[in-house]
């Protein structure tokens, strides 16, 4: 018994303590409880890792109690750890610990400090539940739970209307995805009789392709919601209303990758549904390009990284879709390192500029915040795919697999990689180079903030090479033998460097150029700058008609106009009967009672006659 339950239970305890008593605690105590609970959880993960001899041969499986049992269907509160889960556990608790520490510095001056950490701990609880789950339903518990925490933390500044609206949007759009996820579960139970991973996956090869495709596509809908893929990505950019540590932990490193994890976990279903796999690859690739183009022109530093996250998640789905599951998880991990770093660095930049998020009002920060600059540079190089940094390895693995699957996918992916390098370095140059254009005096962040940045910078540099995920997961996902193709390598490195070079030229050398390009592109620029007006289109075609239709047609029309009008008609009829009876009785209530009795007697008589009639028919 490894007592896996302790891993989520520790942060949950932190949530309870801070949530109930935190208001009365000093910040030091709140910090201690919040950070310690997550660090201890990380410690327990390491303990499991070190004490289980061979996760590939003997995955750990623990059953705690029966959750739901009805007829032959039964689902337990079960946790399991194999190598895939172990990687996820390390990412979640490891990055989680780092970001908790960072947040103690970043949130030091905020109202509702204890509330923030309570939510963050609760998030850890649900996220760990998600990755530890041994069946779809427990995974779904974590899945919806992290969505709740995301909602709470996006809307953390609940006085701000835009923040709470963004929180609602995140929850509701995710609900649309979860609609797909739950339908997938229902289909699984109908066809497999169980939701346990091991039973479902061992039986999957024997099921008809049509069934598996339907299940896989519905799961994909769920993943599109949680991992912000087309067409459900719209909530993630708005989610940046939340405090920056939240953007780093939930909306970059962990929660949004849950969809990738879930699809990888369900590999046994997906691999037997080729059409669904192709859909995954295409949605992933389309999202990668689409979001990258929007990222090119954003001026809010967090928005740039938000669209970048959407785009990078698309990359992971591309990996999954072309069958390179372990490459997808590899990119999930390296992305967790460098994107968490980008967001935390952005937080440090915002902190340095007294809350300013518009990059046009930054610049020259290299001088004022050197540690932030150098650590962010590591992240930027990593995401741009410059060897031998972390992002290079995983991105290259995905692109190589894409080439094997379909060369055009490789080329589209490579162009996206170039755009990625461009927009990240555009952000770097706009914030750290040139002259400072903001107000006040920018300053470096405290050690509680730059310490975590340094750790993540190291991981962004060496993390891809040191943690070779495809090798680790080889027992689960055999590595395909691929011919060495130096051309692919050259292209994927080349586009990254080219992107950096163009950004350098446009934002350091010839800073007038961007505006001239923007004005010469005219309509296209407006379209992209406004994110293709997707939010507006959704509003006009879905949200508005639904609300207006419910109000005028359903409520005023059917409910009041048709049903109630009919009932009131009957009511006034009976009232006139009551009026006659009122002559005999004193009170209104009694007159109704009398009416009822008379009615009942009348009906009894009628019924007696019909009963005889029926009896006659019956015999």
């Amino acid at each position: 018994m490894q007592n896996l339950w302790l891993i989520p239970a520790l942060p949950f305890l932190g949530f309870l303590i801070n949530g109930i008593f935190g208001r009365k605690f000093s910040k030091t105590i709140v910090n201690f409880i919040a950070v310690a609970s997550v660090v201890l959880s990380f410690g327990w993960v390491m303990k499991v890792f070190l004490t289980v001899p061979d996760l590939a041969a003997t995955p750990v499986h623990e059953h705690y109690f029966t959750w739901i049992k009805s007829g032959e269907f039964s689902v337990g509160w079960d946790f399991a750890v194999d190598k895939l889960t172990m990687i996820m556990l390390m990412i979640v608790t490891g990055i989680g610990s780092i970001i908790h520490i960072y947040a103690t510095g970043y949130m030091a001056h905020e109202e509702g400090y204890y509330r923030f950490f309570a939510y963050l701990n609760l998030f850890m609880f649900f996220m760990l539940n998600l990755v530890l789950a041994a069946n779809y339903l427990i995974l779904f518990v974590g899945w919806e739970g992290v969505g709740l925490c995301s909602y709470l933390l996006i809307g953390f500044y609940f006085i701000k209307h835009s923040a709470t609206t963004a929180g609602n949007k995140a929850f509701i759009v995710n609900r649309i995805g979860d609609f797909g996820f739950s339908l997938a579960m229902f289909l699984i139970v109908v066809n497999f009789g169980t939701l346990n991973f091991s039973d479902v996956f061992s039986a999957a090869p024997g099921k008809p392709t049509g069934t598996l495709t339907a299940i896989a596509l519905l799961l994909l809908l769920g993943a599109c919601g949680k991992s912000a893929q087309l067409p459900l990505y719209v909530w993630l950019p708005d989610a940046m209303e939340g405090p920056t540590p939240v953007s780093a932990l939930i909306h970059a490193a962990t929660m949004v990758t849950a969809g990738v994890y879930m699809c990888t976990r369900s590999a046994a279903i997906f691999t037997h549904a080729p059409a669904a796999m192709e859909t995954v690859a295409i949605i992933g690739l389309a999202t990668a390009v689409f979001a990258a183009t929007i990222g090119l022109v954003q001026n809010d530093i967090k928005k740039v990284f938000a669209y970048s996250t959407v785009s990078q998640l698309g990359y992971m789905f591309l990996g999954v879709g072309v069958g390179a599951f372990s490459a997808g998880i590899w990119h999930l991990m390296t992305h967790a390192f460098f994107k968490a770093l980008l967001f935390l660095g952005a937080g440090s930049v915002i902190h340095a500029c007294h809350g300013e998020q518009d990059m046009r009002h930054m610049g020259g920060l290299k001088k004022y915040a050197p540690i932030t600059f150098w650590t962010l540079l590591a992240a930027a190089l990593a995401i741009a795919g410059v060897p031998p940094l972390a992002g290079f390895w995983s991105k290259d693995a995905i692109l190589a697999a894409a080439y094997q699957h379909a060369p055009w996918m490789f080329w589209v992916g490579a162009v996206t990689a170039g755009m990625t390098a461009f927009y990240v370095f555009r952000a770097m140059f706009m914030t750290f180079f040139g002259e400072y254009k903001g107000h006040g005096h920018p300053h470096e962040s405290p050690v509680s903030m730059w310490g975590p940045l340094a750790v993540l910078a190291v991981l962004s540099v060496v993390g891809g090479y040191v943690f070779n995920v495809p090798k680790i997961l080889e027992s689960m996902f055999p590595i395909a033998e691929e011919p060495d193709n130096p051309m692919l390598l050259a292209v994927s490195i080349g586009v990254g460097l080219l992107g950096i070079a163009i950004a350098y030229y446009m934002y350091v050398v010839n800073t007038e150029l961007p505006n001239r390009i923007a004005s010469s592109l005219g309509g296209v620029y407006t379209l992209v700058y406004n994110k293709y007006f997707v939010d507006e289109i959704y509003d006009a075609t879905v949200v508005h008609p639904m609300v207006a239709g419910s109000e005028t047609v359903l409520w005023h029309g059917i409910d009041q106009g048709v049903i109630d009008a009919t009932v009131n008609g009957v009511g006034s009829q009976s009232k006139s009967i009551g009026g006659v009876l009122k002559l005999l009785q004193s009170g209104n209530i009694r007159s109704y009672a009398t009416w009822v009795v008379i009615g009942a007697v009348a009906l009894l008589i009628v019924m007696g006659i019909t009963a005889m009639g029926f009896a006659g028919v019956g015999q």
Binding site: T66, I68, F186, V190, M546, S550, S574, Y592, V596
Partner: protein
């Protein structure tokens, strides 16, 4: 006299006793009624501990002749289905008294007495195994609720009370007709005797007779549920009723309808039930989506919660008429869940009305700043209501939709839309009421919970979590009872085989029947 008799008698005794107290003694009246309801609840725990899962048939049975001619029995007992609904009634009555403690200032004596009378009727209705006795309790429940709305309600209380009364009486009379028809045929009001008689063929019902009887019962219950399009009494009744009335109405009284569907419509008239299931299921699904959409545009909090009830109860009806074990288990579980979480919502909205004297969403804003604990508990209740896993409603919705998927996956797709919409209407309301800038009118009139309010809410929150995580406390008895009802609902097999298949096209009649046996 066994424990169950005592549980029915106690609120009745309390009711009479309260009426004997001089009306000036308001404190004594409140204390006595609370004591009676608490005592009833504490004793009712004995039903849980004494209930033997795995033992077939009714338990805690008393069966004596009440009226000799026509022979009407005092026949009460419980199975896994009635057990938890009785507990729900005894659990919520003290809370209903607690939330009315300060709010009711006018005719205190009658108000609290009526709450006990209501409990008397509710416990009785779920315990009765004699059709006439059932009908008597069914009507007993109607009376106090009518007065609760009509006397202590808001401005349009008379309209609402009359509408409520007419709607339900229309159904009741139909049911009474059917009961007497059955008595004419069977010579008894005894539930089990009639059921066995129909199943064994000793009581022969022609196809049209069975359909007529089914519809008579069904309409009575469907009004109570309420099933679309018979639901329009509900929003008015809820908006006008005092909090305790809304609580008991939503949490327990609506369950009389769904309980009746399970107890009577399915096992007594299996053929008619299965034949009519397709259109009933469609009405249930319309109710789910329609209720949610209309809830979304309500400017009044209580009305919003009322329409959400229409949506939630649609799930219950859907589960019942899926004729699957999971669907039925989910439906019964959802009856309890709805009682807890929607009941809690009505209580909370009531607390806010007492503070702000308004139910309009637009009159609020920033409550989270003024009353953080009230906001937290409201949020937990909201999350329970929209089916967040680890809280109670999720389990019920999951089982209902899963059971439906086993019967017909298309139904599930449409019904599951309701789960998306529930997040829309609840979160939009929560945002407008609790978030944003603190409005001045709210600021000065929104103290956080006092001790009495905490005492009312904590038991409910505990139940939301308990029922969401450890379902094994409740489900085994429910599953067992439903297994039997499902079995009975296909008992007159010879008759059914000769009829067109329930899932015509996909399978033959017999195969279709077998498919539902699972």
């Amino acid at each position: 006299m066994n424990l169950l008799d005592l549980l029915i008698a106690l609120p009745g005794i309390g009711f009479i006793l309260t009426l004997l107290i001089p009306r000036a003694q308001e404190k004594l009246i409140r204390t006595i009624t609370l004591a009676f309801s608490l005592l009833t609840f504490v004793l009712s725990i004995g039903l849980i501990t004494g209930y033997q899962t795995g033992q077939p048939g009714q338990q805690f049975v008393t069966d004596t002749v009440w009226i000799a001619n026509p022979e009407i029995h005092w026949h009460v007992g419980i199975d896994g289905l009635s057990l938890w609904l009785i507990i729900l009634s005894t659990f919520l009555t003290p809370i209903a008294i607690g939330i009315s403690w300060r709010y009711i200032k006018d005719r205190t004596k009658e108000f609290f007495a009526f709450l006990l009378l209501l409990e008397f009727g509710l416990v009785g209705v779920f315990a009765a195994w004699d059709l006439f006795l059932f009908y008597v309790f069914w009507e007993v429940v109607l009376v106090p609720m009518y007065f609760l709305i009509g006397i202590w309600g808001h401005d349009r209380r008379i309209y609402a009370a009359v509408k409520f009364f007419l709607y339900t009486m229309a159904g009741s009379v139909l049911m009474l007709t059917a009961i007497i028809f059955l008595y004419n045929r069977a010579g008894t009001f005894d539930y089990a005797a009639i059921l066995n008689g129909i199943a064994s063929g000793r009581i022969m019902l022609s196809h049209s007779e069975e359909t007529f009887l089914f519809l008579a019962f069904f309409i009575a219950f469907a009004i109570k549920v309420p099933l679309f399009p018979l639901h329009t009494w509900l929003p008015d009744a809820h908006v006008e009723a005092p909090s305790a009335g809304s609580l008991m109405l939503a949490s327990v009284m609506l369950k009389m309808g769904t309980y009746g569907l399970v107890r009577f419509c399915l096992p007594m008239f299996p053929t008619a039930a299965r034949e009519n299931a397709p259109w009933i299921v469609i009405l249930a699904i319309i109710g789910i989506v329609y209720g949610a959409l209309v809830a979304m545009v309500q400017p009044n909090m209580k009305k919003l919660v009322a329409y959400s009830s229409v949506s939630h109860l649609g799930f219950v009806v859907l589960g019942i008429f899926s004729f699957t074990q999971m669907g039925l288990d989910g439906a019964v579980y959802q009856m309890l869940n709805h009682g807890i979480s929607t009941g809690a919502l009505f209580i909370l909205v009531g607390f806010m009305y007492e503070r702000r004297h308004s139910l309009a969403i637009s009159d609020f804003g920033g409550v989270a700043t003024a009353a953080p604990w009230l906001s937290t508990i409201f949020l937990i209740t909201t999350l329970a209501s929209i089916g967040l896993p680890t809280l109670n409603n999720f389990v019920g919705e999951f089982l209902v939709l899963q059971g439906t998927a086993q019967a017909n996956f298309t139904w599930t797709i449409f019904a599951a839309i309701g789960v998306i919409l529930s997040a829309c209407y609840m979160l939009w309301m929560y945002q407008r009421v609790f978030f944003g800038e603190l409005v001045d009118e709210v600021k000065h009139h929104m103290p956080d919970f006092n001790a009495r309010e905490w005492a009312c809410m904590i038991p409910l929150v505990i139940m939301m979590v308990w029922m969401g995580i450890y379902t094994q406390t409740f489900l085994p008895a429910i599953t067992e009872a439903n297994l039997k009802i499902l079995d009975q609902s296909k008992s007159n097999a010879p008759l059914r085989v000769s009829l067109p298949g329930y899932r015509a096209g996909s399978a033959g009649a017999a195969a279709g029947g077998n498919a539902h046996a699972r």
